[in-house]
């Protein structure tokens, strides 16, 4: 958890609702699945974003325009600076997993990108399922395809499998020892019901983002845990909705 002034390197529109923002600074390597917060003008609270990719000097965020904060962020230009809190939360555990399956729903695919890169760096093959509402909302397909075998599901059938990520998972013969999922809560709940061998990255309306306000606590089999502090990634076996 540290405070940093980061500079916009690029802010690119990927499709009708998704943007890629690259921020520059020092000491920015994050664990996959962790998150950061950006202070946005005229917004009282900082906005949390999962880390799509990070290196020593850059952070890549993939964000969807959902409210005033993300809308304002679309106007950020190269050279603009933002006050940020970086290295927040706990990310995915790679452990001894040999057959990872990454499942992203909508903007939830974002944190799976760095995770896929980390598995590839360990020479572990990755299988990826990406779910979107329709063809227009697909992003980063090429980038993910460079890292592993990608299957896409769309709710309206306009691209790939017609249906949701769970439907695709059930209709295919995936052989995985752990799935890593990020997406809307109904998707995560459905996955958890299907298999407990996974890690879920949760989303919540946060107050602080660093564990002091208890605004984002969830019930788990091990008592209450904060999405912003003990999470956002939780073992699928422990999350109680």
């Amino acid at each position: 958890m540290t405070n940093k002034q980061l500079t916009v390197l690029s802010n690119k529109k990927l499709n009708n609702c998704t943007y890629e923002l690259i921020l520059e600074g020092n000491d920015l390597l994050h664990e996959s699945g962790s998150f950061m917060e950006i202070e946005i003008e005229n917004c009282f609270l900082k906005r949390p974003f999962s880390i799509a990719d990070s290196s020593e000097n850059t952070i890549t965020l993939l964000y969807k325009v959902v409210g005033v904060g993300t809308k304002a962020l679309t106007t950020a230009k190269t050279g603009d600076t933002f006050n940020c809190l970086v290295n927040l939360g706990k990310g995915f555990l790679l452990g001894v997993i040999k057959k990872p399956l990454l499942i992203g729903g909508g903007i939830g695919a974002a944190p799976l990108y760095q995770l896929a890169k980390e598995f590839v760096a360990k020479k572990i093959p990755v299988e990826i399922i990406l779910g979107f509402r329709n063809k227009e909302e697909i992003y980063y397909l090429e980038e993910f395809s460079k890292l592993g075998k990608v299957s896409v599901a769309t709710d309206d059938g306009s691209f790939g499998y017609h249906g949701n990520t769970l439907g695709l998972l059930k209709d295919s013969n995936y052989d995985f020892d752990c799935y890593y999922a990020c997406g809307p809560s109904p998707m995560l709940m459905a996955l958890q019901n299907y298999s407990a061998n996974g890690q879920l990255s949760l989303e919540a309306r946060m107050g602080c983002g660093f564990g002091v306000c208890m605004g984002c606590s969830i019930k788990t089999t091990n008592g209450y845990k904060r999405v912003c502090k003990e999470g956002p990634v939780f073992d699928a076996k422990e999350v109680l909705w």
Binding site: L45, R205, C213, M214
Partner: protein, 304 residues
């Protein structure tokens, strides 16, 4: 070196800035950001006799100048606070702290407060009788004069710590409640807790907060809080800890001039974890610019 000291009871605080309950966890979490020893004191997360999970999510709704929360007093219970949280805090914070205690019944308050009798290094116990987010408790104790006086009297009988009664602004006459606390033997009063508010998601037409309403805090409430501290200063003789929307050193000075002996900074920390530290550092310049020799000389100055 600018003198920022204030006195509360028989304790000298190195400066008047106290981290407010519910916005600073149990303190030690914040030590990752800065050396929290710069703080005048810390009021810990509201604790109850037994562990509480609190309300369902969402518990937070943003506003243009603050936020609404409905945490619902999530805490591990007073025994766990004493056995596991306080030792962690004492490693990173050396000065006296404030324990914030809530409850559902007089018995619950008394049992929780009694457990704090043997603790050292406690500035006081802040009685949360003003939490708007707990069904059938919290605020229910804080809106009737007779209840406030009776509860304070009962707690003073079983406690050997200083008792600070935290008042709700969600009342018609906050001075009457302040007097009731004073009559019950309170050593100090802290005010204000959050104002009851709500936000509605215009896409769904439903309240954002799971339990519909919550407590509004943040810089938007500062003028309301200042007015209430000003009024209560004229109503009681015991010291006042002023809070509500403070986010700058100037506002600390205003709060002291309205009659507060010390202040609490809360929601500003949720917006910026360094808020307390920055305010304390800014205070040096403000004190110099205003030629203030001692902060004690400006307490209540607005009444003269």
């Amino acid at each position: 070196m600018v003198n920022k000291q204030v006195t509360l009871f028989d304790s000298v605080l190195k400066n008047p800035v106290i981290a407010a309950s519910g916005t600073f966890g149990f303190g030690y979490e914040m030590a990752e950001f800065f050396d929290i020893n710069c703080l005048g004191s810390i009021s810990l997360k509201g604790s109850t006799l037994n562990a509480r999970y609190g309300n369902p999510l969402p518990r937070i709704a943003e506003c243009s100048d603050g936020l609404i929360n409905a945490i619902g007093l999530q805490n591990p219970g007073i025994d766990a606070v004493i056995s596991t949280q306080l030792p962690k805090l004492s490693k990173v914070y050396k000065d006296k702290i404030i324990l914030n205690i809530g409850g559902h019944s007089v018995e619950e308050y008394l049992l929780a407060v009694e457990k704090c009798n043997d603790l050292d290094n406690i500035l006081g116990i802040e009685l949360n009788i003003s939490c708007p987010n707990v069904q059938g408790g919290g605020l229910a104790f804080g809106t009737k004069e007779s209840t406030v006086e009776a509860l304070t009297t009962a707690i003073k009988k079983v406690s050997n710590q200083k008792i600070i009664v935290k008042l709700s602004p969600n009342v018609t006459d906050i001075c009457a409640l302040a007097k009731a606390a004073e009559n019950g033997g309170a050593d100090a009063i802290s005010l204000i807790n959050t104002l009851i508010g709500m936000r509605i998601d215009i896409k769904t037409g439903k309240p954002i907060i799971s339990v519909k309403k919550g407590g509004y805090s943040g810089r938007g409430i500062f003028p309301v809080a200042l007015r209430m501290v000003y009024d209560v200063f004229e109503a009681v003789k015991i010291p006042i800890i002023g809070m509500g929307g403070i986010s700058s050193a100037d506002e600390v000075i205003e709060m002291l001039m309205a009659g507060a002996s010390a202040v609490m900074v809360g929601t500003a920390t949720l917006k910026d974890p360094f808020a307390c530290k920055n305010i304390i550092e800014e205070l040096d310049k403000v004190i110099k610019d205003l030629n203030i020799t001692s902060l004690s000389t400006i307490i209540g100055r607005a009444h003269k």
